[in-house]
């Protein structure tokens, strides 16, 4: 199995719901709590596994706005794992989820340096590295209804821009989306082979218009409509 996410940039409105859902679930999850520093102070910040950034592509007036959520890509060639000296960071053999064993991490930050996607954040309070767990503590929890065994971010996304599934299964929703919509990996040139894929904005064909027929001036138009109405009425009369 190769579990991961597909994120649809054509429908993501950048609402941050997935980011907060992630925070909410994971703060009491397997790597929780996710500390918040100065929560009511001057520089509030904290540990998040999923962050939403907003970009503009192109110059006004041909600009487009892109909202890009990013969390761990669960890379196939994850240097964050190979650099880890303690073995706290690892990629699960059974499903490819990249995790940090909280009891083994020494907080050296090296894995975060190795991650191109900014997916790892050190919890300064706990002194250990944390990251997206792909909600491993939800997706296998048989006490949850089956349709809820999905990552919190996927469950919550109001514009259904997030999909979760097995990329090894060519029939899965994620595989077919990637196939059909040209799903791509971010920064592929670094060779990390991110599992998560992004769907580019759809290109809509030009919308057809009714044939313009602006031949007459307005006076003529009204006269024409009057006639049309009379003709229709007369026809009605005859019939």
């Amino acid at each position: 199995m190769k579990l991961g996410l597909v994120i649809d940039l054509d429908t993501c409105v950048g609402c941050h719901a997935c980011a907060v859902a992630c925070k909410q679930w994971n703060t009491s999850g397997t790597t929780g709590p996710l500390s918040d520093y100065q929560p009511y102070g001057e520089e509030p910040s904290g540990v998040w596994f999923n962050r939403i950034r907003h970009y503009e592509v192109g110059d006004y007036p041909t600009n487009k706005t892109i909202n890009a959520p990013m969390s761990c890509m669960h890379c196939d060639d994850a240097a964050c794992v190979t650099v880890c000296p303690t073995g706290a960071s690892y990629k699960r053999e059974e499903d490819g989820i990249v995790l940090v064993d909280q009891s083994k991490c020494m907080g050296c930050n090296l894995c975060s340096w190795a991650c191109p996607y900014g997916a790892r954040e050190l919890d300064e309070e706990a002194g250990v590295m944390k990251k997206c767990t792909l909600c491993v503590d939800r997706i296998y929890d048989e006490n949850l209804p089956e349709e809820e065994r999905k990552p919190a971010c996927v469950l919550t996304c109001p514009s259904h821009a997030r999909f979760f599934g097995d990329f090894d299964d060519p029939q899965s929703e994620v595989s077919s989306l990637v196939r059909e919509r040209g799903g791509y990996a971010m920064m592929p040139e670094l060779g990390y082979q991110p599992v998560n894929k992004y769907l580019p904005p759809r290109q809509r064909p030009k919308a057809p218009t009714v044939a313009a027929k602006q031949s007459e001036d307005s006076g003529g138009l009204i006269a024409k409509w009057l006639k049309r109405q009379k003709d229709a009425f007369n026809q009605l009369g005859e019939g």
């Binding site: 962050r51 907003h54 592509v57 073995g87 706290a88 930050n109 190795a114 900014g118």
Partner: protein
């Protein structure tokens, strides 16, 4: 990258230590200082070990969870940091045995062999340390062979100056060591300058490839948080261009030019003061170099925060 003082101190100081021990361990065989006495070896060796140890201790300050530091031996198979840790620990018994032999038996074949072993270990550790950085594809300023070359050369440079200082009363040795130092200074200055020029060229991933929009200008509109996060603090470090240039000059001046002048006798006869000044200047210079090594390194995650290219 955020230039963490603990890490800078670690790489510079233990680098100097390993540089010193490398020269020392191979001093007699290589002909750098065959005249060195066992006492001198012992003393310099202890100095080297102290430097190494200070550096290593400092490196643990960088750990957010040092109680798990011992676990860093676990992933020798893939992790350069793990390798460094393993070798650094293995180094101690070997180095101590060598120094013990030197102390007990004096110069002997055994000490010669052990010294050589220490030298090899030293260079291996310097490579490991360098590779921690050089192996990161995310930071193109590090991800190149010059990183390892610089780590080794600068360790040797500092090591040679310290050795010089300790042997300053032995004229023959000093003049030989001066040649070696000047050679090391020139070579490392050259590689460092090549490095500066090389990282000056924008290269590697761009904000366009980072996001997959390659056909138009991409600009950040909002990073999605108002205060700095771990990512900004760790990777978002920015130094003003003018300050960078100034610091680079300072680095070249202190690490290379001043020591070169001082040890080469251009400004007066090479005395203890000169040597101590040279070592000190070089140490500070390399410290600045290492600070720059971090401060000038730009992690690709910055692309997601709006940088066009790293």
């Amino acid at each position: 990258m955020h230039p963490a003082l603990s890490v800078i101190f670690f790489t510079v100081t233990s680098g100097a230590g390993y540089g010193l021990l490398l020269l020392l361990g191979s001093a007699r065989l290589s002909g750098i200082a065959p005249e060195i006495s066992s006492n001198q070896t012992l003393f310099a060796g202890i100095v080297g070990l102290v430097l190494v140890t200070l550096g290593l201790l400092s490196s643990t300050l960088h750990l957010a969870n040092p109680k798990n530091a011992w676990r860093s031996f676990a992933r020798f198979k893939t992790s350069w940091l793990s390798r460094e840790a393993v070798f650094a620990i293995l180094f101690y018994p070997i180095c101590l045995v060598w120094l013990a032999v030197v102390w007990a038996v004096g110069n002997s074949t055994l000490s010669l062999v052990l010294g050589l072993f220490v030298a090899v270990m030293s260079i291996v550790i310097l490579v490991c340390t360098a590779m921690i950085y050089a192996s990161l594809k995310t930071i193109r300023q590090w991800n190149n062979p010059l990183t390892t070359v610089n780590f080794i050369l600068l360790g040797l440079l500092l090591g040679s100056l310290i050795l010089l200082l300790m042997l300053h009363q032995q004229n023959i040795v000093v003049s030989r060591l001066i040649v070696i130092s000047v050679f090391l200074i020139s070579l490392s200055a050259l590689t460092k300058i090549i490095y500066f020029v090389w990282i000056g060229q924008p290269a590697g991933p761009t904000i366009n490839t980072a996001l997959g929009f390659t056909r138009a200008t991409v600009r950040i509109l909002d990073v999605g948080h108002s205060s700095d996060t771990f990512l900004n603090k760790e990777f978002g470090y920015e130094v003003a261009r003018a300050r960078l240039i100034w610091l680079r000059c300072l680095c070249v001046l202190l690490a290379f030019v001043v020591p070169a002048f001082l040890v080469s006798g251009v400004i007066g006869e090479v005395g203890f003061i000169h040597l101590i000044a040279a070592a000190f200047s070089a140490y500070v210079g390399v410290f600045v170099e290492r600070w720059l090594f971090f401060a000038e390194a730009r992690h690709v995650v910055n692309l997601y925060h709006g940088r066009q290219q790293t």
